[in-house]
């Protein structure tokens, strides 16, 4: 069930309507039922996988929590009896126990993810190597199911386990509630990967209907739809896929893309003190527009290089594209209308430019800490309504959907 579909909108209405009608105690139960319904509607065959991850993670969390608690109690009770060395020894034993417990759960969860997502990728590569070596052997290619959001919920489960291992918080005592945390339907398709201590309590608490919050939520959804259906889907002919790393797909080009991004992200973190020294030595003012502008250009450049790997059909193709970018000077593609041949006409371009400007203005306002929805809410009623209805009309008319204009699926769907 795609987010940009009538089915999903209807589903969302039922979920929200039901949530506010439900008694406070049952609100989280309703969300759990809806989340699993969403999952079942997508593919009932894969529900066993998420149940497996939920149960394994829940049990492991409880074991880790118990070890943490026992350790605390034992140390507290024997505070005066135990020597420093004995305490150390006891802690070390517990850490080993916890490590093995955590390792087993990670192996089970990650093993399942790797097997379902990458078995065929590795099998293909092994077969290629075997073939090059003229060996009459072949690893079978399996017809595997890919559960919805398996990467999201697996990584979320691992995050939870690592936090419990580090004793950041107590493990969840309620399996059903924990199942909701891992399967919450708006997150399972698109993420983001949430931390337990940030998300879980929001799901378990009973929220009353608040007009302002619901209205703001509806506005946020409308804005999201506008960005997706008017801008992103219109740009789809230009941008086949914008993905990050091997997590996104099983192909060597994504490995290269992942390495490229990984090197820059970790490099920038590790070298931060060095940069700070250079900035201080060169007396660069980092509080002005020009510095921000430089940062934007630098990041765009580095990201664009990485995108060659995601867009190219192979690593070699990506390298060729990079070479051409720097050796073939052809800025005229921007002025000779040749981009109209890529599936976008003049009228669509006007819509894109107009919406791009709106996006830019909104972006600048957000940068400056202006809360747009709050600002709109301050306006007179009729003006507010005009803005909302105008936005809805723009979405309905200019959105890319319907017959022959199928909205492209979200890139993170099925990851």
């Amino acid at each position: 069930m795609a987010f940009v579909s009538m089915k999903f909108l209807f589903f969302l209405l039922v979920v929200c309507g039901g949530y506010f009608i439900m008694p406070a105690k049952l609100k989280w139960v309703w969300l759990l039922i809806c989340s699993y319904t969403f999952y079942l509607l997508n593919d009932a065959r894969t529900v066993a996988f998420i149940i497996f991850t939920t149960v394994i993670t829940y049990i492991t969390g409880r074991i880790l929590g118990k070890i943490n608690r026992n350790q605390k109690t034992y140390l507290k009770e024997n505070k005066t009896v135990l020597s420093r060395e004995e305490k150390k020894c006891f802690k070390a034993k517990n850490i080993t126990k916890k490590k093995w417990t955590l390792f087993t759960a990670i192996l089970a969860n990650l093993g399942l993810l790797v097997f379902l997502k990458y078995f065929n990728f590795f099998a293909g590569n092994i077969n290629a190597v075997l073939s090059n070596l003229s060996l009459q052997m072949e690893v079978p290619i399996l017809n595997l199911l890919l559960p919805l959001g398996i990467s999201f919920y697996t990584l979320q489960a691992l995050g939870y386990l690592i936090d419990v291992y580090r004793d950041k918080y107590e493990p969840d005592r309620n399996l059903a509630k924990f199942a909701l945390f891992l399967s919450f339907f708006p997150q399972i398709v698109q993420g983001p990967i949430a931390r337990y201590n940030q998300l879980a309590h929001q799901l378990y608490e009973a929220h009353k209907f608040e007009y302002k919050r619901v209205a703001f939520g509806a506005q946020l959804i409308l804005w999201g739809f506008m960005k997706k259906l008017i801008i992103a889907d219109r740009l789809a002919p230009f941008v086949d896929e914008i993905l990050v790393g091997i997590w996104h797909g099983s192909s060597w080009k994504y490995v290269a893309y992942g390495i490229w991004n990984g090197v820059f992200i970790s490099g920038s973190i590790l070298l931060e003190p060095v940069y700070e020294k250079i900035i201080a030595k060169l007396k660069i003012n980092t509080k002005c527009f020009s510095w921000g502008f430089f940062q934007a250009i630098r990041t765009t450049f580095l990201c664009s290089i990485g995108r060659f790997f995601s867009r190219g059909v192979s690593c070699m193709a990506a390298l060729r594209m990079i070479k051409h970018t720097f050796t073939v000077f052809n800025p005229w593609v921007l002025t000779d209308y040749s981009f109209y041949e890529l599936g976008i006409n003049e009228r669509n371009m006007i819509v894109l430019v107009a919406m791009g400007l709106v996006l830019l203005v909104v972006g600048i306002m957000q940068e400056r800490g202006i809360h747009i929805r709050e600002k709109i809410a301050e306006q007179n009623l009729y003006f507010r309504w005009l803005v909302y209805l105008g936005a809805l009309a723009v979405l309905l008319i200019f959105g890319v959907y319907g017959n022959g204009l199928a909205s492209t699926v979200f890139i993170y769907q099925q990851f």
Partner: protein, 371 residues
């Protein structure tokens, strides 16, 4: 939520719905589309001024000249037929017409159940359903066609050619019901004032494609077999129409318009006509020797192609059917209505259109059989 907020919410939602409905209305099927224009013409007629309708595929559209029926007997009878209109949509079409008109006769062409017209692609359904106004009946009509298509695919799925598979009706596609989803992007091809006006055809109730109506294909009269046989799925479709007619006490006439098709397709249509006769509905087979000779249908000059009459054939069919419905249902000598001017004008325009196309008078075409 305070009372004031509830009130504001209701007003806002109402305004939103009005706006959305206006957009749906503005971004309907392109006005240049023949089916849409034909339906617009029908919708623009005053209530209770139309005497009857003819329902079928494009064969019925080509074969019916409403201005001639008006001119000859004062009969106002519209063709509500679209290109490859599914037979399963017949009840929906009749229901839609009955919302505003007191139909005294309904003529149904049975060509829709023959082998070569059974498969329904999504565009053929939308030809009709996107031309209809949004209503419960439009939804029901879509549902009927969707059900038929599902049943058809379940039985004859293996015979569907590969190139047609992507064009089949997707039952869960919401745009089956909401034309706006298909046409909201019409702005891409440029919009002008005419795109937002609901134009009726200048010649009401008649097909006016010069390219198609003023040509002939020298065809042989078909060999009509005696046998009658129709597969259960299509029997069901016909039976539903018959039951609906009985239930609502409608004057329905089942016809088989002139065509030149393979023998097996006439076996299927014979069965459909037989079913209608068994249910005490009158039938007219224009391919039978009796009527064909009476009407002097010449397969070498009166057909545009194997499945459609040209305008020469159309005036003959119209004249015959007009006479038939007047004699059997007392439709002629209707009192003059307010819209008679537009009908008179349509007749003048059609006459000129016909005579310019063939360089002969309509009367000369009709003189033989009218004597």
């Amino acid at each position: 939520m305070k009372k004031k907020q509830i009130l504001q919410f209701i007003i806002f939602m109402t305004l939103g719905l009005v706006m959305v409905y206006t957009l749906f209305y503005l971004f309907e099927k392109n006005e240049n589309d023949l089916a849409a224009r034909s339906w617009n013409g029908f919708y623009s007629e005053e209530e209770n001024t139309i005497d009857g309708i003819i329902v079928g595929t494009s064969m019925a559209t080509w074969a019916w000249v409403a201005p001639l029926a008006w001119h000859e007997r004062g009969v106002r009878l519209y063709s509500l037929s679209t290109d490859e209109q599914p037979m399963a949509a017949t009840i929906g079409v009749i229901e839609e017409a009955r919302k505003t008109q007191n139909l005294q006769v309904i003529i149904i062409d049975v060509h829709g159940i023959r082998t070569s017209a059974r498969l329904r692609t999504v565009n053929k359904m939308r030809n009709l359903t996107d031309s209809m106004h949004y209503s419960i009946n439009q939804i029901r009509t879509v549902n009927r066609i969707v059900k038929y298509s599902k049943d058809y695919e379940a039985i004859y799925g293996d015979t569907i050619p590969e190139e047609k598979r992507s064009k089949l009706i997707e039952p869960s596609d919401f745009s089956n019901y909401l034309g706006f989803l298909n046409y909201h992007a019409r702005w891409e091809s440029g919009l002008s004032e005419s795109d937002f006006t609901k134009e009726s055809p200048s010649i009401k109730g008649a097909y006016t494609s010069r390219k198609k109506l003023f040509r002939t294909e020298k065809l042989e009269p078909p060999d009509i077999p005696k046998e009658a046989n129709l597969e259960p799925l299509f029997q069901e479709v016909i039976q539903e129409v018959i039951d609906y007619g009985k239930e609502n006490q409608l004057n329905m006439v089942f016809v088989e318009l002139p065509s030149s098709l393979p023998e097996e397709e006439y076996i299927q249509m014979n069965a459909a006509l037989q079913m209608a006769e068994d249910a005490d509905f009158p039938t007219i087979n224009f391919n039978s020797d009796t009527i064909s000779n009476e009407l002097s249908i010449d397969y070498a000059t009166d057909l545009s192609n194997k499945t459609h009459v040209n305008s020469r054939g159309a005036v003959k069919i119209t004249s015959y059917l007009t006479k038939y419905v007047c004699e059997h249902y007392g439709l002629d000598n209707e009192p003059e209505s307010k819209d008679s001017t537009s009908w008179d004008q349509s007749w003048e325009d059609y006459k000129a259109f016909f005579e310019q196309g063939w360089e002969m008078s309509i009367e000369s075409v009709l003189s033989d059989w009218q004597k």
